[in-house]
Amino acid sequence: MNAHPATEVLSAYLDDEFVDHRQIEVESHVEECQGCQHRLDGLRRVVDQLQRVPSARPSMALARGVETHVIRARRSRSIGMSRPWLQIELPHPAVGLGFALTVGFAMMLYFFAQSGAFRAAPDLPDDRSRLIMSPAGPESPLPQGQRVSAGGRSFVLQGDAWLESQLSTAQLPLELPAGHYAELAASHSWLEDLLSYGRDVIFVTDEGETVRVTPQGVGRDGSQPPLPTRP
């Protein structure tokens, strides 16, 4: 060690606070440096004088004063002392804060879920807006008698089905040949839109037949499910 050690280093050296090699470094420097030896002696004298300061002995008045304070404090918490199981152990403040944040976050999620912010938008064909003129979405409750336009036709909601306007319920039921239906589902995608409201669709085909279509009947893969008939 060539540089003169700082006072902080000399003071810590005096207290044996360094690990071996550092202690030896300072020691070897001080042995050779008169100035640092002088500084170290000055610090040593201070420490020596501090250690000679007599310690004071507390008087009996302190013991009496403490006793008075303690008796008063004991009286005020006597219930807790006699029933230690009543004493509530408070958790660390960080635990409480974590709990409060978790509860707050959970409540926020709940309210968002309730408001429908996380609900996925229905996967509808691009031309849906053109086909269905209903102001509400597929999930919203629809009043009986609600009218929509789709595929150039006009439908009205009656019971559990969309009926083409000119069709009366007396004309039901009807079964459609499978081949005929597949062709129908493939060429009229707007049927899916109507079915997405959770209602069947009853309409008159171009051939003049009355057809009832259920959600099972409109498969994107072109399958030909059986068409249920009204009981």
């Binding site: 902080e8 000679r52 007599p54 310690s55 002995r57 004063g65 404090a73």
Partner: protein, 193 residues
């Protein structure tokens, strides 16, 4: 035949925690034990930090009241002595604040009972009293942060690590405060008055 079951504190492997649990369960001797062990230390620390024996007595009483109220919550994360030191230093800080400390009180009229140390002989005593007063006076003129560090190290004999725990600062800071405090004391004691 009725059997009354006394509520006893659960036994801990750490004697200090055991003491705290006894206190929590209403054992009066637990606090007395703490007082017997630490009263001299608390009083001396208060005296060195405030400089007035009567004020030190008041502060000590308040410190022990704090200890009485807080002992039940002691969990043994540090040694009991370190915890008592911390309570004392914090209380003195809050009560003394930035108020200027009266340095005359140790200069004149210090009651003999406060400075008596039965472990010393009469000659030692005279020398210590004379020297002790000038050092104690110089100590009170130090800034609070240096004074705390020097008192804990050179008068109370705490290790740097313990001082760091008591004051809530890093060891490097403790080392620096002790060195600067000692250096200022050296200058103060070497300057003739």
């Amino acid at each position: 035949m009725s059997v009354s079951k006394a509520i006893s504190a659960p036994i801990s492997s750490n004697p200090a925690v055991d003491l705290a649990q006894r206190h929590r369960y209403g054992d009066e001797s637990a606090f007395e034990e703490v007082y017997q062990r630490h009263s001299a230390m608390v009083f001396n620390l208060c005296l060195r930090l405030c400089g007035e024996p009567s004020r030190a007595q008041d502060l000590s009483q308040e410190v022990f009241l704090r200890i009485f109220k807080g002992l039940g919550r002691f969990r043994g994360r540090s040694a009991l002595g370190t915890w008592v030191y911390r309570v004392t230093v914090n209380h003195c800080r809050s009560r003394l604040g930035r108020r200027r400390i009266l340095t005359q009180s140790l200069n004149s009229g210090t009651p003999q009972s406060y400075l008596e140390d039965p472990a010393r002989g009469p000659e030692d005593h005279l020398l210590a009293n004379d020297c002790g007063r000038s050092v104690a006076r110089a100590l009170l003129e130090l800034p609070r942060c240096f004074r705390e560090a020097v008192v804990l190290r050179d008068l109370e004999g705490l290790a740097y690590e313990e001082i760091s725990e008591v004051l809530g600062v890093r060891i490097g800071t403790v080392r620096s405060r002790i060195a600067r405090g000692r250096d200022r004391l050296r200058v103060a004691l070497e300057t003739p008055r």
